[in-house]
């Protein structure tokens, strides 16, 4: 997808001219990751959906401040995460990730990778439980980097941390996870 940044930049430019179809394309492209990021933060699908909707509206109104040539996703995720945090604070709720491993990945539509199939469901549950038991910063760092597959830059934008902080927290969280699981580095 070598031309993707260019295409994305064009969509932003068209949206700035009032082309809402172009903006619709941007929404469809990014809404799943936006929703998952918001869900990690709020722990509620309804709050995550509200946060994502409001974030896309705010992002549209702020498009003039988006730096051309930069990737759109980190910029968007910063707005999404801010909306999500505001909702979590106002709801005053919950600390745990409401995540669970898919019950039976083999029965779903998607065929899991051979490695995933090899990672026994017991082991998955154990790992998830260990991640859930970590402190919030550790948990969010690992969830963004490994569950969502966000880059360090995107994780920094989403969590409002410095990039160096993402790196150090991730490595510290991995260390704690290893201790919890009793595995060697």
């Amino acid at each position: 997808m070598e031309d993707r940044p260019l295409a994305e930049g064009d969509l932003v430019a068209q949206a700035l001219q009032g082309d809402t179809r172009a903006y619709g394309t941007l929404i469809r492209e990014h809404q799943t990751m936006a929703f998952r990021t918001a869900y990690l933060i709020t722990g509620s699908a309804a709050d995550a959906e509200d946060a994502v909707q409001d974030a896309f509206v705010k992002a549209y109104r702020a498009l003039a401040r988006f730096r051309r040539g930069e990737p759109f996703r980190p910029w968007l995720l910063a707005i999404v995460a801010n909306e999500a945090r505001n909702r979590r604070r106002s709801a005053g709720r919950r600390e745990r990730l409401a995540l669970r491993a898919a019950e039976d990945p083999l029965s779903g539509g998607a065929v899991p990778s051979p490695e995933a199939a090899l990672l026994a469901s017991e082991r998955r549950e154990e790992l998830l439980a260990a991640v859930e038991a970590l402190g919030e910063d550790d948990r969010l760092a690992l969830a963004c980097r490994y569950f969502l597959g966000l880059s360090e830059e995107e994780t920094a934008a989403a969590l409002g941390w410095r990039r160096g902080t993402v790196k150090s927290r991730t490595s510290r969280a991995l260390e704690r996870l290893r201790t919890r699981l009793g595995v060697e580095a």
Partner: protein, 255 residues
């Protein structure tokens, strides 16, 4: 990548996230005509969002009537101050209204945050706490000083002094402050920098995202405030302070 990291990725692939709803139509239905923004010429990079301080509030502002009765106007970089007949209905003071963002660790009395320049007022020393928030325009950093040592508690913020720093890119008019009759607004200077001093009554701090949805967001009331435009950083000092002390604090800001 270690085995553990690989295992985490595999778990991530199989996680049962709730299905992401398609929000495209709902979002597009909320978009009005595009916003035409004025670029403030020579200084595109600057500033902003005083009232992001208040972003999370759900106070519905009865503002349109106030908006129609603008009596006076002051501008400073990305901030505007408007004098109106009556202030909108915003909460006087709640801790939620402050909404300062995420706590930031202090290292040797300075916030551990990635900004080109972090200003700390020598006159006040290291802050008691710091908060940062990533906004669409850039970063907002707030230093919090507790009451005590001649610093009374502010009835509007519940703390002693707030020193806010807004760094980022924004166009004019992203932030509004509304002042009513009782509040005096003066143009002052802090060293070489232009500044505005608001004193004598509460003012409303508002954030808005564009021209057509002004005041869609919420606000709160604030007390005496000094706004200083320091190159690419907008500094906001709020507390139960007189002008001389606020300016002295601003003059003592150091990277």
């Amino acid at each position: 990548m270690t085995d553990l990291e690989r295992a985490l990725r595999l778990v991530g692939e199989d996680l049962a996230f709730p299905e992401a709803p398609d929000v495209t139509e709902a979002v597009l239905a909320r978009l009005g005509p595009p916003t035409r923004r004025r670029l403030p010429g020579s200084r595109r990079v600057l500033v902003v969002a005083l009232a992001a301080l208040a972003l999370a509030l759900a106070a519905a502002l009865a503002v349109p009537p106030a908006r129609t009765a603008i009596l006076d106007f002051f501008g400073l970089g990305g901030a505007t101050v408007q004098r109106v007949e009556t202030l909108p209905a915003v909460p006087r003071s709640t801790s939620r209204a402050l909404d300062l963002g995420r706590p930031v660790r202090l290292l040797d009395g300075r916030p551990d945050v990635e900004l080109p320049e972090v200003l700390v007022p020598r006159a006040l020393g290291p802050p008691d706490a710091a908060y940062a928030s990533a906004e669409s325009y850039g970063t907002r950093l707030t230093l919090v000083y507790a009451p005590g040592d001649g610093v009374p508690e502010s009835p509007y913020t519940g703390v002693g002094i707030l020193v806010g720093q807004f760094v980022g890119e924004a166009d004019e008019g992203l932030v509004d402050k509304l002042v009513a009759g009782g509040t005096r607004v003066r143009r002052v200077r802090v060293g070489p920098y232009p500044a505005l001093w608001l004193e004598g009554g509460p003012h409303a701090v508002l954030f808005h995202g564009d021209d057509e949805a002004v005041f869609a967001d919420a606000g709160r009331l604030a007390g005496n405030t000094l706004l200083v435009e320091r190159d690419d950083v907008l500094v906001r000092i709020e507390g139960e302070l007189d002008r001389g002390r606020a300016i002295a604090i601003a003059e003592s800001l150091r990277p």
